[in-house]
Amino acid sequence: MPTVRTKRTLAKAGVITGLVLGGLFAGLPVLWMLSTSFKNNGEVFQNPPRLITKGFTLGAYREIFGNGGQLRFFANSYLVALSVTALTLLVALLAAFAFSRFTFPFQKTINAVIVSVQAVPPITLVIPYFGLVVALGLYNTYPGLILTHMVFTLPYAIIMLTAYLNTLPRELDESVKVDGGTSWTALWRILVPISVPGLIAVGVYTFMISWNEYLFALTLTRTDDMRTVPIGIQLLMGQHSYEWNQMMAMSILGSIPVLVLFLLFQKRFIGGLTAGAVKA
């Protein structure tokens, strides 16, 4: 009969083995991407494979930074994602304020529509968007991308910000009204300053969605000077199908903003993300 102690040691060994195996499954592909980005392109498929090769080089990164076309993809992605974030936060904040602080006819209906918007498949929307964006003269422009990205970011932002505002005591804005202020003053003077943590969490998620978006960026832009990073990575795949080291370097550079935001705001972010799905 194994003692309690040996049983515990065995259990611990089992869990650690499992965790390491799972970690390899999750982490090895990412490690290989990182390693390939520092290789000479000739060494990418060398046999046997090496994690760090003799020709260790920053050449792939130098190529990306030296290429105006590639840098343009990054500039476009930042411009679009930051605009989407700012606009989403503004529009969502106003809507969340209405849902949280007022009761009005059709409140439930409007709320239900906003929730269900999230389930509509992007592939269904992309066909009319193409027609609409061309008709409005927004094809191959930043506003076309920014506007269409907001269809994904707005519902989530409204729902999360409404939940956030609901946690703030109503007495706060009542005090402004007692002093003769309007709801507008209450929102900007009182609620916005104390909502910064909520706005950051929603903003980070909004930025990530827009930065990663692929289908609309693919169909609603045409020329290389309007393309975003995900499309840029794909273009690299077509143009130089053998420049694997550059594709990996571009992928790393394209992932850095999201990785940094995630690591900085991990706690808030996971909390906000699971709040809806887990709330029993």
Partner: protein
């Protein structure tokens, strides 16, 4: 990475001192705050859905301006197209296998991360590593796996060394394997979201439930079956429905790894619809396919909403 979140219902409003008479202007205030949202939703959602439905009943839309009413012709064309039927089958396999695997892996990893046997720092490190695949955009995931799975890539090298394969396998180019391979890639990239939610769920299970079960002399597996699973049930069901919806919308991963090929082996509803529109310029058929996709999603969403109501 789109998301579907349950809506928090505004708390009952205590109208402390209801104003004697609400003027018309006052009543309109909340609509004022909502107007940018309502305008955006009408422009970006209501009008486009009306447009796509109207396209689906007409011919010569978008590329020409002499569109004519076509009745159900586009639907008949789509529903009798063998490629569309293949796409439905592939999508069904892809979303079911992905969702089941996401659940199993997500639960296994969440339980390992939740173990009391490990210190906080080790857990934090493992948690970040486990979330990694989920933080990369689909374009990046596609190029990583194209590199790894290349016929002369590292996966084939390892399998060859272990004697599993004789020579480099073209994983994404073999019609018999490609569907399973893209499903595998999707499993790799999608389990962390399940894991995060289940981890939060596990941390919410009261410890005394386990203590009571331990006093009764149960073993680990019995506690898992009779305490853990029933407690996680609501989370598991809603996550599974959400995952089915998201996975059915997956376009970029397929498009950038196989493009739906070889020989339609990985054709999904999303790639089929996209090709009809932007490769064939058959916007009317594409619209009919897009409406069918919307209807299928609505069925799934209906289950999700019902599930949320029951809770």
């Amino acid at each position: 990475m789109s998301s579907l979140t349950a809506s928090p219902v505004a708390p009952p409003v205590e109208q402390a001192a209801p104003p004697k008479k609400k003027t018309m202007a006052r009543r309109l205030i909340p609509y004022g705050y909502l107007s940018p949202t309502v305008i955006l939703i009408v422009v970006l959602m209501v009008i486009p859905i009306v447009m796509v439905i109207s396209y689906s009943f007409r011919d010569n839309v978008i590329v020409q301006d002499n569109s004519v009413f076509a009745g159900f012709a586009n639907y008949t064309k789509v529903l009798t197209d063998p490629d569309f039927l293949t796409a439905i089958q592939n999508t069904a396999v892809f979303i079911t296998v992905s969702t089941v695997a996401h659940l199993v892996l997500g639960l296994a990893f969440a339980m390992m991360l939740n173990t009391p046997l490990l210190g906080g720092v080790a857990k934090a490190v493992f948690r970040i590593v486990y979330i990694l695949p989920w933080l990369f955009t689909v374009a990046v995931i596609a190029v990583i796996w194209r590199l790894l799975l290349d016929p002369s890539g590292v996966v084939n090298y390892v399998l060859h060394t272990l004697g599993v394969v004789q020579q480099g396998v073209n994983w994404l180019g073999d019609p018999g394997k490609a569907l399973w391979v893209v499903t595998f890639i999707n499993i790799w990239s999608g389990y962390p979201f399940f894991m995060i939610s289940l981890l939060a769920g596990l941390q919410g299970i009261p410890g005394d439930l386990y203590e009571a079960a331990a006093v009764d002399g149960t073993n680990w597996f019995q506690r898992f079956r009779h305490v853990t699973l029933p407690q996680l049930r609501p989370v598991i069901i809603s996550m599974a429905v959400l995952d089915l919806i998201w996975t059915s919308q997956q376009f970029a991963l397929i498009w950038m790894t196989t493009g739906g090929g070889p020989l339609h082996a990985t054709e999904m509803l999303s790639t089929y619809t996209y090709k009809q529109a932007f490769s064939e310029y058959e916007f009317s058929t594409a619209a009919a396919a897009a409406v069918i996709v919307l209807l299928l999603t609505m069925v799934l969403a209906f289950f999700y909403v019902r599930q949320q109501r029951e809770r």
